[in-house]
């Protein structure tokens, strides 16, 4: 469990109080334990969306800032934003996103500017493709009884497709989670004593691996029609509405990548990563067939249903 410091700048007292209550709830639910600190000492700042000198000063600092804006305001153009009021899971998600950019070392955190991309990672380009392709082969291949091993400078991990699990030690897990380590392609391993390793679900490894890719991996057809044979665990996908929408549509019928992006209202890269993660979790089927229609308000029923859905989401605080 990592410890990080969080400071509040310009937020109203009730918002700060709500955040602190949520941080207490988060203990044990998040991979990072957050503590309140003064802005000077904080790793991450939560800043009000206003023009005050203090807010401007800290937004221009090199510390990652989460800009809190009211849900009746326009979304500010900042790397990290949160619409108020927000729920615990939304706070967890954004803090985990920000935390991932800070890397494993707290000492380095002050050097990270909010507009910077995540820590440069060696696990990109061809290396991650080799690992992702081998993971896909391992979980979808016929020889699921085998144990596979991938190596890195920080140790090895083992994958057992038949158990639906991978086995990893904590230091390497933290490196993989922060995308700061390169893994070799999986190779069959001899029987190994895994008692010193932590057992974790393959879907989690698939998800973390998929986040390294910038496009659809070569081992998935770009013009394919994709269908899900089971729902992924969207909890590990951070409860993002886009993943729920894509999963819902893909369990109804095969869909093309572009249709998924339009339906879920998200970037193509997010679709590609999602498809990749589902494929590496052995949930995805690529088949020929009629793809889903694009949404167009042609009849009264969907329009009325749409307004109900929109209204209900609004009332329950589920509007994204």
């Amino acid at each position: 469990m990592e410890n990080r410091k969080l400071a509040f700048v310009g937020l109203e007292a009730d918002t700060t109080s709500a955040c602190l209550s949520m941080l207490k709830i988060m203990n044990g639910r998040s991979s990072v334990e957050w503590m309140q600190a003064e802005p000077e000492d904080a790793d991450v700042l939560m800043v009000a969306n206003e023009d005050s000198a203090a807010c401007q000063q800290w937004q221009e600092s090199n510390k990652p800032c989460i800009v809190i804006y009211h849900n009746n305001e326009q979304k500010p153009s900042a790397p990290y934003t949160l619409s108020h009021p927000f729920r615990v899971m939304q706070l967890i998600n954004i803090l985990e996103d920000v935390s991932a950019t800070l890397g494993g070392s707290q000492q380095d955190s002050a050097k990270v500017a909010p507009s910077e991309t995540p820590v440069p990672n060696p696990a990109t380009a061809g290396q991650e493709n080799d690992f992702s392709a081998s993971l896909y082969q391992a979980v979808t291949g016929k020889n699921k009884e085998a144990l596979y091993q991938a190596q890195s400078a920080k140790g090895s991990l083992f994958v057992s497709p038949s158990a639906g699990a991978y086995f990893i030690q904590e230091p390497l897990f933290n490196e993989v989670r922060h995308k700061t380590v390169a893994l070799s392609a999986l190779k069959p391993a001899a029987n190994t004593d895994l008692s010193a390793y932590i057992r974790r679900p393959i879907a989690e490894l698939a998800w973390m691996t998929a986040q390294l890719a910038s496009t659809l991996p070569e081992w998935l057809p770009k013009d394919g029609n994709f269908r899900l044979k089971r729902w992924p665990n969207v909890r590990s996908a951070k409860n993002n509405r886009a993943y729920l929408s894509m999963s819902a549509l893909m369990t109804k019928q095969p869909c093309r990548r572009e249709q998924l992006a339009a339906h879920a209202g998200c970037e193509q890269q997010q679709v590609d990563r999602f498809l990749s993660a589902c494929a590496m979790s052995d949930l995805l089927v690529c088949e020929a067939g009629t793809a889903a229609p694009t949404r167009s308000p042609m009849s009264d029923e969907p329009r009325r249903l749409g307004s109900f859905i929109q209204g209900l989401r609004h009332r329950l605080g589920l509007s994204s």
Binding site: G164, F308, L312
Partner: protein, 185 residues
């Protein structure tokens, strides 16, 4: 299925006794759920003092004054005759299961079959699962996959409002996906 009747939108919560239907409805209803609780005389089935004898009811009034009605079915098998009545015109169904129950897999199939075999938008929430136990959810998903049914199955502690909201949001996504298909038809 006409999911919008009389400017109302109905979501049904179902599952065996003690799965948390009343709690889930109360978590999101505008008002405390109206329950028809009576003293539980079937302690062998579920060890709790009160149980729902007819139905639970909650509602959420939307900004345009239309209404989302939340119904919970009674968990006892002898009230099964009420299920199709409550299912009529429902936009979707949330099935709540007790992850500790030894007949969990049978309960899953029982409720999925009784409420449309996945043809009606349906989400499964499984409570009382050990932390980080993904294998039980996996086995439930596999059981349905063998029958060609793909439904969202989540671990859900219905005492946590966020977990109930996840189930509802997922159900809404399924209803939207159905909308897309019905427009093509």
């Amino acid at each position: 299925m006409n999911a919008v009747a009389n400017n109302e939108f109905k979501i049904l919560f179902t599952g065996p006794m003690g799965a948390g239907k009343t709690t889930a409805i109360s978590a999101i209803s505008d008002h405390e759920a109206v329950s028809t609780d009576v003293i539980n005389t079937d302690l062998a089935q579920c060890n709790k003092e009160l149980t729902t004898a007819a139905l639970d009811y909650g509602q959420i009034v939307l900004p345009d004054n239309s209404c989302v009605r939340l119904y919970g079915t009674p968990g006892q098998e002898r009230f099964r005759f009420m299920w199709p009545i409550l299912l009529n015109n429902a936009a979707g169904v949330i099935v709540l299961l007790n992850g500790e129950h030894p007949e969990l897999l049978d309960h899953l199939e029982h409720y999925v079959d009784a409420f449309g075999s996945g043809k009606v938008p349906m989400v499964i929430g499984v409570g009382r699962l050990p932390a980080d136990d993904h294998s039980r959810l996996e086995s439930l998903a596999m059981r349905l996959e063998k029958r060609g049914i793909a439904l969202p199955i989540f671990d859900a502690d219905v005492r946590q409002q966020d977990d109930v909201l996840l189930l509802v949001d997922t159900l809404l996504c399924l209803i939207e996906a159905d909308d897309c298909r019905s427009m093509e038809a």
